[in-house]
């Protein structure tokens, strides 16, 4: 709770700083504030979590772990924003404030104990993002992205809300525990309204995390939005959406597994297939990342398919690995777009010669996304695969393994371009903040891959 308050106050503080034209202070203040929020949220670890505010929120380990990781990722992304917003417009403070507002929404999304909180959390997050997606006012792609994201977002929120009301109609409660008790009372004779409600909720949340077949908006929105915001959307927002999804299903709907598992399996298979196959054909790095993010949702859904006590852990590890690697990729992308103005695979040619550090970190990120051992991504995939195999989804896992192969093919395109293709190019200038974030993220990726113990049995 204190993290939520800190973040909100921080956002207001930044707005005031903007008012008093203290532009230099914005980034340091935001970073320090977020670090304080991170520490505060981690201090609630193991503090005998009980639902607070008449069962509205529950800061259990799940909530603390996921709010911790989202705040942590936001710190990394905001550190990349040095000089980024200034290039777009002069109202820098508002952008920081909006990012922080959406983070506040995310904190609600990962710690809710009541569907109304889930809804409000999603709304806060989305409304800020609709605007952030469109901050390049003169850029056509950015406008399109914002509009598309807004329409799809509003649509999915509507579906979600409809699902919530139907569940309320069936169970008479917004409370996760209440809904669970209602289902447990007689799992064979729950109202048909509840089934419809669950379906609609799953559809609504799938829109938010970008799982196929509700993924249409993802490539255009990620491509059109400013890269920094795309990075935020494909990491923090996705992790939060997934955490919300998992929390809902773990808390309330676990007894009705037989009903929703086929749906999730279908979504997982489709996400893997569409994400991976389409990514192979992309010529642009950013769009490839968008499709690859769809495919990663497919892997993450494995944890829900094989739902048990350690699903949260598996998602946590996978999400952390995926997000850190994606942040590296977007970091390099931002530099490339800013200084070369192009993000096709060809623009990576010969990068290894001029910027060995950038090339190395990006390689580590790509290897992690591809799931090569000794990177965090491998541990994530390993956990997902072993979970799915432990519940005998052998076909699914074989299918996923084939998709992982396809994935390697397109992730390696970047590596091939950087290392194997020679081209005369100018050296990219890498600011200190970037160096820190990229180096740190690469280190985290390797460290998690070699010794995942300290994160993997956290929750």
């Amino acid at each position: 709770m204190s993290a939520l308050i800190t973040i909100t106050i921080l956002a207001l503080l930044l707005l005031y700083l903007g008012l008093f034209k203290a532009k230099k202070a914005l980034l340091p203040v935001a970073l320090i504030g977020l670090m304080v929020a991170l520490v505060l949220s981690l201090m609630e670890w193991d503090s005998n979590a009980a639902p607070i505010f008449s069962n509205m929120m529950l800061y259990d380990r799940f909530a603390v772990a996921f709010s911790g990781i989202t705040i942590f990722l936001t710190i990394l992304i905001i550190a990349l924003s040095k000089d980024y917003f200034e290039r777009i417009s002069s109202n820098v403070a508002e952008y920081y404030a909006l990012i922080l507002f959406s983070l506040a929404g995310i904190i609600l999304m990962v710690s809710y104990h009541n569907l109304s909180m889930l809804f409000i959390g999603i709304e806060i997050m989305s409304v800020s993002l609709y605007i952030l997606a469109g901050i390049k006012k003169r850029d056509f792609a950015s406008n399109e992205a914002a509009l598309k994201y807004f329409l799809m977002g509003a649509f999915s929120t509507g579906i979600l809300l409809f699902g919530v009301t139907l569940i309320y109609g069936a169970s008479g409660s917004f409370d996760l525990e209440g809904i669970k008790q209602y289902i447990l009372k007689d799992p064979t004779a729950v109202s048909p309204l509840l089934y419809t409600g669950i379906t609609l909720l799953i559809v609504g949340l799938s829109f938010k995390v970008g799982a196929a077949p509700f993924h249409f908006w993802v490539p255009d929105v990620y491509e059109g939005s400013p890269s920094l915001i795309s990075a935020y959307m494909s990491t923090v927002v996705k992790v939060a959406g997934f955490a919300a999804f998992l929390r809902l299903i773990m808390f309330s709907f676990a007894p009705l597994q037989d009903f929703w598992i086929p749906m999730i399996i279908g979504m997982s298979v489709l996400s893997l297939l569409i994400g991976n196959v389409t990514a192979v054909y992309q010529q642009h790095f950013k769009r490839m990342l968008a499709y690859s993010s769809i495919s990663h949702v497919g892997y993450m859904l494995f944890a829900i398919i094989a739902l048990n006590g350690s699903s949260d852990n598996a998602v946590f590890v996978y999400a952390a690995a995926y997000s850190v690697a994606t942040i590296i990729a977007f970091g390099v992308l931002i530099l490339l777009q800013g200084q070369v103005g192009n993000d096709s695979f060809d623009s990576f040619n010969g990068l290894a010669r001029k910027n060995p550090f950038l090339a190395l970190t990006l390689t580590i990120a790509m290897l992690s996304l591809a799931g090569i051992p000794l990177t965090a991504g491998f541990i994530g995939k390993f956990m997902m695969f072993s979970k799915a195999l432990s519940s005998y989804h052998i076909f699914l896992v074989v299918f996923a393994a084939l998709n992982a192969m396809i994935g390697i093919f397109y992730y390696f395109k970047v590596i091939v371009a950087m290392y194997f293709k020679e081209e005369d190019r100018k050296e990219l200038i890498v600011p200190v903040y970037f160096k820190l974030v990229l180096g740190f993220s690469a280190l985290v990726t390797i460290a998690l891959g070699v010794y995942p113990d300290f994160i993997a049995s956290l929750i």
Binding site: F53, I120, V127, P192, T196
Partner: protein
């Protein structure tokens, strides 16, 4: 009960008019009337707060705004894009599907247990306020962040940029 059926008839009647009237301005006007009948429904259901909100916000604010936008856009019959036959077929199929679903679910459903509705006066402003400021205090307060971020965003998007380039 008769009153309910009468109002329900009016709702359906006016909503059909919304669809069938050629002039978009009339459509919106009919929509306002439809919403008005909804408000009557809410009052019949003893949900006064909802009725008032519906009356003020939807009918009063949003739809009037809608009307203004329509008038500004100056939509004519000619500029309306023709809908292809394929679209019509798809529409019919979709509509029939919906009808089927509704009929199916009506068959499955049963009248809700009146005992379940513990407090029939929940819709009164006083009771709603109590719930909002006791049980649902947190969501109520947190909504302020939502409004604030929407406000900041709206200003940000609408404000003219003083760009150097």
């Amino acid at each position: 009960m008769n009153l309910f059926y009468f109002v329900a008839f009016l709702s359906i009647f006016f909503s059909l008019l919304v669809i069938f009237s050629k002039n978009p301005v009339y459509s919106v006007l009919y929509l306002i009337v439809t919403f008005f009948t909804f408000s009557i429904h809410y009052i019949l259901l003893n949900a006064q707060f909802l009725a008032i909100v519906n009356f003020i916000v939807y009918m009063g604010a949003i739809l009037v705004l809608f009307l203004y936008v329509l008038m500004l856009l100056n939509l004519n019959k000619e500029s309306e894009p023709m809908k292809s036959n394929l679209l019509k077929v798809v529409g019919v199929i979709a509509g029939l599907c919906l009808l089927l679903t509704v009929a199916g679910s009506l068959k499955l459903l049963h009248a809700s247990d009146p005992v379940l509705l513990k407090n029939p006066d929940i819709g009164l402003v006083r009771n709603l306020g109590k719930v909002l400021f006791k049980e649902f205090l947190l969501p109520f307060e947190v909504s302020s962040i939502l409004l604030l971020s929407a406000m900041v965003g709206a200003v940000l998007l609408a404000k003219k940029d003083i760009t150097k380039v």
